[in-house]
Each structure stands twice: as structure tokens, then as C-alpha cells.
């Protein structure tokens, strides 16, 4: 008798919800977080596509100059060899500006909007 009653009480308690809670706007928060995550992924992909396109254009330009004016191309290569540090710095700066414009600023703006 006692054992059966204990089982009954136990069963009722086991079916009771635990005291863990989530905020009432949880689904909204999750959706926004996923939307931000997807946006970040899209922005980063766009940036890499743009970078690849620019590199391709540079290669095509260099190829056409190789066919049309080989001397000019050699002068450019010599210039690059003479000043590697400023050239690399310029490439790095331009790349950083592109990354900031396409990805970082949007990310910062999104975070700022959330904090607001």
C-alpha cells in the first residue's frame, strides 16, 4: 500500500516541470542572433568574392600587358622588387579598408544596434 502510494507521488513529481526558465523574448533573441550570424557569413563571402575578382582583374591586366607591352610589365615588376615594404603596406592597407567596409563596419553597427 505504502509503496504504491510512494510510486504515485513519485510519478506526479517526475512529470512536474523543473525550475529552469528562459526569458520570454528568447525566440526573438535566437532569431535575431541567427540572422546576424547569417549576415556575417554573407558579408564575409561577399568580401572574398570581391577580393578574388580584383585579383583576377589584376592578373588579366598583367596578362594583356605581357602581350601588348612587355617592357612596361618588366618595369612594374622591377619597381615592386625595389620597394617591397611600401608595396606590401599599400596592399595591406587597401585590403584592410575593403574588409572594414564590407564586413567589420556592418558587424560593429549590428552590435551597436543590439546594445541600443
Amino acid at each position: 500500500m505504502k509503496n504504491e502510494d510512494l510510486s504515485e507521488i513519485l510519478k506526479t513529481s517526475l512529470k512536474a516541470e523543473p525550475n529552469f526558465r528562459l526569458p520570454s523574448d528568447f525566440s526573438q533573441k535566437v532569431t535575431q542572433s541567427i540572422a546576424r550570424h547569417e549576415q556575417w557569413k554573407t558579408d564575409l563571402t561577399d568580401y572574398f568574392y570581391l577580393l578574388a575578382t580584383l585579383l583576377l582583374l589584376i592578373i588579366l591586366l598583367a596578362g594583356s600587358y605581357y602581350l601588348a607591352d612587355k617592357e612596361f610589365l618588366i618595369r612594374i615588376v622591377t619597381f615592386l622588387k625595389l620597394y617591397p615594404v611600401p608595396v606590401l603596406f599599400l596592399i595591406f592597407t587597401l585590403n584592410f579598408i575593403l574588409l572594414t567596409d564590407r564586413v567589420l563596419l556592418r558587424l560593429l553597427f549590428n552590435r551597436w544596434k543590439i546594445n541600443q
Binding site: L6, I9, S13, L22, K29, T31, I34, A35
Partner: protein, 193 residues
């Protein structure tokens, strides 16, 4: 809206449908993850991680099992990974002796009869993690043995054994605090409800 329609809406980029899915399954995720990690302050992050994984892997979901089973599996793995990450290895491995030690530690004289259900809930939280999760999935979420096997990866026999041992432990704990009179009182209160 049934789960299949909901999934196709989400895969077509409808974020409102995803919010609907979150609302529908957030209790399940909270119960599963909460019973594993037992930390209210970390729970929201873990649940967010679960739904992020649900969103990212929804395209790979095949109707081989119910959506609730699939989501519960993700929640279970996220909870166990959380325990592993924070090196609570003893928590991941069930140990009857630890639970029995708690049994004597938590012995309370003249426990308020009306608080008996709360007392059991407290005792559930002191059980080893695999016992807690099996109890939650079976009694609270009403999954079958096969579904629990799918979710946790434990063989059906182990699931049944954990369920039996967990219930026995809880019953033993109950016997310490309950007497004939208080039992009658609790029954009366339960019937009134």
C-alpha cells in the same frame, strides 16, 4: 502548421517560421539542457547554441525520426559537451554511490508534507546526470525507450536500468521523509488539485 511544413518554410528563408519552431520546442530544449547543466545563468547560451545548430543542420534533417527526437538529441549533445568542456567528468559518468551519499546528506526530519513534490524535484537534481536525463526524457517529455536510445546513444537495456535505479533511489529518499500520516495528507492535496 505541422513540422514538415514548418521545416520547408524555414528552408525557404522564413525567419518567422523559425521563431515559431523555437517557441514550439524551447521547453523541450530547456528541460533536457537544464537537467544536464543545472546552471540557470548558462542555460540561455546553451539553448541558443542548440537552436543555432538546429538552424544550420535543418537541411540535413531526414524524416527518419520525429523532429522533437532530433532536437532533443542536439540538446543532449550540447549539454554533455558543456559538462565535458568544464571538466565535470564525474558528472558525465553515473555513480550510484555518489547519489547514495547525497541521500544521507539530505535527510530531513519532519519535512513539510506540502513540500514533498518540491523535495523530490530537489532530489532529482542530485542524481547522476544520466539518471536525470533518462527520467526527464521518459516521464516529462514522454519519449519511448527507442527514442531515448536514439537521443542518448545508450542501449535500451541501459535506459531501462537507469530508469529503474533512479526511481529506486528516489523512492528510498522519499521513505526517509515520509510517514503514513503525511502520505495521506499529500494524497488529499493531490486529489484536491
Amino acid at each position: 502548421m505541422n513540422d514538415t511544413e514548418l521545416i520547408s518554410q524555414i528552408l525557404n528563408g522564413n525567419m518567422n517560421a523559425f521563431a515559431f519552431l523555437v517557441n514550439r520546442y524551447q521547453k523541450l530544449v530547456v528541460h533536457v539542457a537544464g537537467r544536464i547543466i543545472q546552471r540557470q545563468d548558462e542555460l540561455e547560451d546553451v539553448c541558443q547554441e542548440v537552436f543555432l545548430k538546429v538552424y544550420q543542420n535543418l537541411g540535413n534533417y531526414r524524416n527518419e525520426c520525429k523532429l522533437s527526437t532530433w532536437i532533443a538529441t542536439i540538446a543532449y549533445n550540447a549539454g554533455i559537451n558543456y559538462l565535458r568542456k568544464y571538466k565535470k567528468w564525474d558528472e558525465v559518468n553515473p555513480d550510484d554511490s555518489a547519489a547514495l551519499r547525497n541521500l544521507t546528506d539530505y535527510r530531513v526530519e519532519n519535512y513539510e508534507t506540502t513540500d514533498l513534490h518540491r523535495y523530490i524535484r530537489e532530489q532529482i537534481e542530485l542524481l547522476p546526470v544520466h539518471y536525470r536525463i533518462v527520467l526527464t526524457l521518459y516521464y516529462l517529455e514522454e519519449f519511448s525507450y527507442q527514442e531515448i536510445e536514439q537521443i542518448t546513444g545508450m542501449p535500451e537495456g541501459t535506459v531501462k536500468s537507469y530508469l529503474f535505479r533512479a526511481k529506486t533511489l528516489l523512492k528510498e529518499k522519499l521513505k526517509f521523509v515520509v510517514d503514513e500520516n503525511s502520505l495521506k495528507l499529500v494524497k488529499e492535496i493531490s486529489n484536491e488539485k
